[in-house]
Amino acid sequence: MVTTLVASRVSPGRVGAVIGRNVGALRSGPSYWIVLLSGFFEPLLYLLSIGVGVGALVGDLTVDGRTMSYASFVAPAMLAVSAMSGALAETTFNFFFKLKYMKTFEAVLATPVRPIEIAVGELVWAIVRGSLYTAIFLVVMVAMGLAEPGWAVAAFPATVLVGLAFGGLGMAVSTLMRGWQDFDLMGTGQFALFLFSGTFSPVQDYPVGVEVLIQITPLYHAVELVRGLCMGVLEWGLLGHAVYLAALAGAGVWFASRRLTRVLCD
């Protein structure tokens, strides 16, 4: 229902123009390229230091009866993290800056463009950015022998979905941010997700209460979905993770466009 509601009010041309603004920023000089490229390295560095480095100390791992190297356990998680951080960087820092300080959206809303079109356009752009990271990351994984090429291709759309979910969430959160101090709070939350979402150790190893708590949070579902596909383990559970992420994406966009209307159109 939400989809039809959104579709009836969204003009592809105007969404394209919102995306075009970010392409224009890339055309306008090197500063945005630097922002774009720097975001790629963090998950890769974790993969090398912890996945490969710590992995040499840990040895092989057995999860759900399957034995694998520690690096191939960590790599899909870092892939999911890379999709998350690409989308979040765009929809939190950049989005917030455009909303609050540069007044970009205020200028846009004086044109025929509507709040929902801003939200959708910015989300699509966040996915483009996130997908750039994940595509390169998948190539690295295949090159390091951490994923089969066929399954790597299968995992790519899943990373797009992860980007959508975190992009929607990021935008929704951004519309509630009061100032930069809230970004510290968000950074801490993001880091906690990064450490505990089954990224570096299987969630089954935690006490039951903690495990359930983790299973409510989004990165857990992202990691499980992406890991399943990277390892070629197709289970019905993957569908559940996908539904969770899609719902998060939809709710995020809906909430963000409502908040934009409240904040900017009063």
Partner: protein, 311 residues
């Protein structure tokens, strides 16, 4: 279309919670007119502009822009408006030219057409040589001109300017006025807010004075002066002011139509300045300085909205 007002408002109200920013105003702006909102800070000018710009929704009342309903036809109306906001919101991530091209795309113009318009408008506002540079190093006047160029990018029927020259130096203001005058000559309808009286006299065919969310006066600059002020004003200073002010003000009573004692001088509103001056001397008063000048909109404004500082 010709006999239909471009802006038609009846009983327009905007409330923010308990606070009433616009308290039931009526407006009719004709095509091709240059229309001004004058008023102190907090008078409701910007709130009215945001409603006309179809960004903010009226709390109650009827508002039709270009013959369409402001609430239901927002995007269609905005497609034909140009908006120059009070604070520049140019995009610092984009070059000067890219600011215009990107903005044109929001109106659904093709990329080629957007580029053509951008180059043409950069010439119009004399920024052609800055096209490839960033926005940040531009002066205040240049930024303002770029914002106006951006407001023109969709070839609008109606241009809304919220305090277009606030904070600019005299040269920049005059250049901007000249460009706005040329827009007006082309038949573009201009609606602007200002608290510069000279700006209102320069640009506006007709204006309203707002105070406390209401319209307190309406007319052409000349008719407002005729209605709410006198032809001339005599400004006199006396030794011993401000303490002696009230005494001199009382002594000046009857010289003109109205006496307005200020801390540093007394204003006497008169029809004939020289005759008034002769009367002042005849009463044996000896001012330390005298200035006879024509009445301006500023006199009207201060008479209507008072001298109390509003922040």
């Amino acid at each position: 279309m010709a006999d239909q007002p471009l802006i038609y408002a009846r009983g327009l109200v905007k409330r923010f919670g308990e606070f009433t920013a616009v308290d039931g105003i009526d407006l009719d702006v004709a095509p091709g007119e240059a229309f001004g909102f004058l008023g102190p800070n907090g008078a409701g000018k910007s709130s009215t502009m945001r409603m006309i710009g179809c960004v903010s929704t009226p709390t109650t009342g009827e508002l039709r822009i270009l013959g369409m309903d402001a609430v239901h036809d927002g995007p269609r109306i905005r497609a034909r408006l140009g908006v120059c906001p009070q604070l520049d919101n140019l995009d610092p991530d984009l070059t000067v030219r890219e600011n215009l091209v990107t903005y044109a795309r929001y109106f659904g113009l093709s990329r080629a057409e957007s580029r053509r318009r951008a180059d043409e408008l950069l010439e119009f506002v004399q920024l052609g040589d800055r096209a490839g540079g960033k926005v940040e190093p531009l002066s205040g006047g240049m930024k303002r001109r770029l914002t106006i160029a951006r407001a023109m990018v969709n070839d609008p029927d109606l241009v809304l300017l919220d305090e277009p020259t606030t904070g600019l130096d005299p040269q920049a203001r005059h250049l901007l006025w000249e460009r706005l005058f040329r827009l007006k000559q082309r038949g573009t309808t201009l609606v602007l807010t200002t608290h510069y009286m000279d700006e209102a006299e320069q640009l506006c065919d007709r204006l309203v004075v707002m105070d406390g969310g209401r319209i307190v006066a309406e007319g052409s600059p000349r008719s407002l002066i005729e209605t709410y002020s006198t032809a001339e004003v005599v400004e006199v200073r006396f030794p011993g002011m401000p303490e002696a002010g009230p005494r001199f003000a009382a002594a000046l009573e009857g010289v003109g139509k109205r006496v307005d004692p200020l801390p540093d001088r007394v204003l006497v509103y008169v029809d004939d300045g020289d005759a008034a001056l002769a009367e002042i001397h005849r009463r044996g008063l000896e001012p330390s300085s005298v200035l006879v000048r024509r009445s301006t909109l500023e006199d009207v404004f201060l008479h209507l909205t008072g001298r109390t500082l509003v922040d």
